[in-house]
Structure formats: C-alpha cells, structure tokens
Symmetry: C2
Subunit: 192 residues, 2 copies
C-alpha cells in the first residue's frame, strides 16, 4: 500500500462550502481535490493500492481527516468538482473519533496530523530532501503541504523523519505526487 | 520555449458551456484545464517559457485552437474553473484565421492539428514511444491526446514523428506533462 497525506491549512471542515468556489471560501480545497486525482488515477483506471489522506484544518470544525481509498472508492471522476462533492458529503455526516464511511471508499474522522502520525509512519516530501532517484528505497507513505508551508507545530511533529525531493523546483503538491508515483511505477515495473 | 499541445476530441468550441459541467456538456474540458495547469504552474510561480495549445474539436464550431502563453498569461489560477473561464472567454470572441488575444496571454484561432503541425514540429507522447529518460535530447514540443485515442486521420498526420513515453503505465495527459517537465527541469538544472 502507498499512502499520501496532504495538509490543507485553510480547507473547510463543514459540508456547506460551494462547489463553485473551491479556491476561495472552501479554503484552497482545489489543491486537495487535485491531490486525490494525482494519487488515485491512471488513464481509464484507478490505483487500487493507494490511499490519499486529507487533513482539513480550516473552519468551522477543525481538525478532520478524510481518507480516499483507491481500492474501494466509487463515484469519483477525475475533475476537481467530483472529488469536492465527495469531500462535502463526507463533511456533512456526523464525525467521530474513528473513520466512518460517507460514500464507498471515502471516510472521515475527527483529528489531524498528530493522530495520523501515530497510525502511519509518514515521510515528508520537501524541496530540501534527498532526491527520490537517489533513494535506495522509496517511502511507502509521504506527507505534503498545500500552498502554505507547514507550521512550526507541524514541523515539530515531523522532526527527524526522512525527507525526499522530486526535483530542482518547488512544485504543487499534486504534481509532486505524480512524479513520485512515476518513480515508484518505474521501479516496480523494472523500467529502471 | 517548450510547447505542449492537447487534442480535445469532444471539447466545446462555443463560449456558452457551463463552468459547472466541464466533464459533461463541455466535452471533457476538465482534462484540457488540468493540462493548462500542469504545463504552466510552478509553486507560487508560472513557467514563463512554456506554451500550451488546446485543439478543440467538439461542437458547435470545430476546429479551434487556443494558446495559453506562460510568459504573458494573466488572471489564471491553478483550479480547473479558472482556466475554463478563460477558455470560455476565448471561445466567445470572433474567431479568425490568425491568433487573436482574448485575455492577456490567451489566444484563439480557427483550425486544428494540421495547421498547428505546419507551424511547429510536434513530437508525440505515447505509451509505445522511447523512454524519456533514455532520450539523448528531449523534445521541445510534444502533443498528447485527451481521454480518447488519436483518430486514424490524426495518426496519419503524425506518421513518422518521434514518440516518447514517460513510464510503464498509461496516464492522464496532465500527469504525463508533469513527468516530462520534471525530466526537463532535472536536465536543465544539472540534477541528472
């Protein structure tokens, strides 16, 4: 299983945001939607061995964590509005301490980064990390930030973890996921 | 200058499509919007040396070609709805045989693939092509298709052109662009 987690620092945590304003009132939800896309989609197929976690830290009810499971998700199309609609649905059901399924393959629970790190040993994708092409073993679980840097508190939680970089420039989170998955695909398929 | 061209076989050619239904009535315009994003965006910056051409082949007035110039474009945000709004604006102005600017850095003209190939020597991104990592020189201009295969007529126009592949699996067009740009970035920056 490969896992990605993306921190959405302003991302809405209520189920009433407008699908017509994902960058604005939904708190750059468009970024998280594109990360769901890049984590899970192949051409005309899904990556069934990938999970994508979204850590939503915006108003009105932070923190919440969503999980999109490539092996179980249904009703997901590649466009931003499609994943946003599933996110909105997940945010509209009662949220407890354990993951609860809102639509097939989409789950929501209360809690954010510290809880997720207790469950899964995430590495960090970071411009200053080791080049993924030089890494003898690639990480199974990687965490990224949205358009904002990780906060000092988040960085403290991540201290000492392995860090990896995908290239010489700072890229959007979804582009970074695409490039890492390409490196994984190549190694798993014997292309390198 | 690096150039990408994407063929949108069903993509709307009139300026009245709904921004709320890019995959449906706009003819998978969401794919083309994501290709504009992956061609032009760095984190908090634009790739000013990239041009993205969209060949729109859907109703009601095919073919039209749009150009997004990374060096000149304004009012473009990364979300699909933002590029879709600029596309719709471009499709709503009178369309002639030469490129005409609709908003800063976005241009539209009548005509499709054969006209574009007469101007620019595009290679093809194709699962069956040469691995980009093995290519001594990377192409300056690459053409991709949307969710549909190139038609026999399009394939005939492209016969004999160099073909490149980015990895072992068939990927969405925007993911393919991201991976090729990463390879270009690495070579230009001396990361390889």
């Amino acid at each position: 299983m490969k896992r990605f987690a993306v921190v959405g620092h302003l991302a809405a945590t209520g189920g009433t945001f407008s699908l017509n304003d994902l960058p604005g009132s939904a708190g750059r939800m468009d970024i998280l939607c594109r990360c769901v896309n890049s984590s899970l989609f192949l051409s005309h197929d899904l990556r069934r061995d990938v999970e994508c976690y979204l850590i939503l830290r915006g108003e009105p009810d932070p923190d919440k964590t969503l999980l999109f499971s490539g092996g179980a998700v249904r009703y997901l199309s590649p466009d931003e509005r499609s994943s946003a609609a599933l996110i909105r649905k997940a945010l509209s059901i009662p949220c407890g301490d354990e993951f609860r399924e809102s639509t097939p393959g989409v789950y929501v629970r209360r809690g954010g980064l510290s809880r997720l790190l207790a469950d899964i040993p995430f590495s960090v994708l970071d411009e200053a990390g080791e080049d993924i092409r030089d890494a003898p073993v690639l990480p199974d679980a990687c965490l990224l930030s949205d358009h904002l840097n990780l906060t000092p508190e988040e960085e403290e939680m991540l201290e000492g973890r392995d860090r990896y970089s995908v290239g010489p420039f700072s890229l959007h989170a979804d582009h970074t996921i695409t490039i890492l998955l390409n490196e994984i695909d190549r190694r798993e398929s014997g292309w390198i």
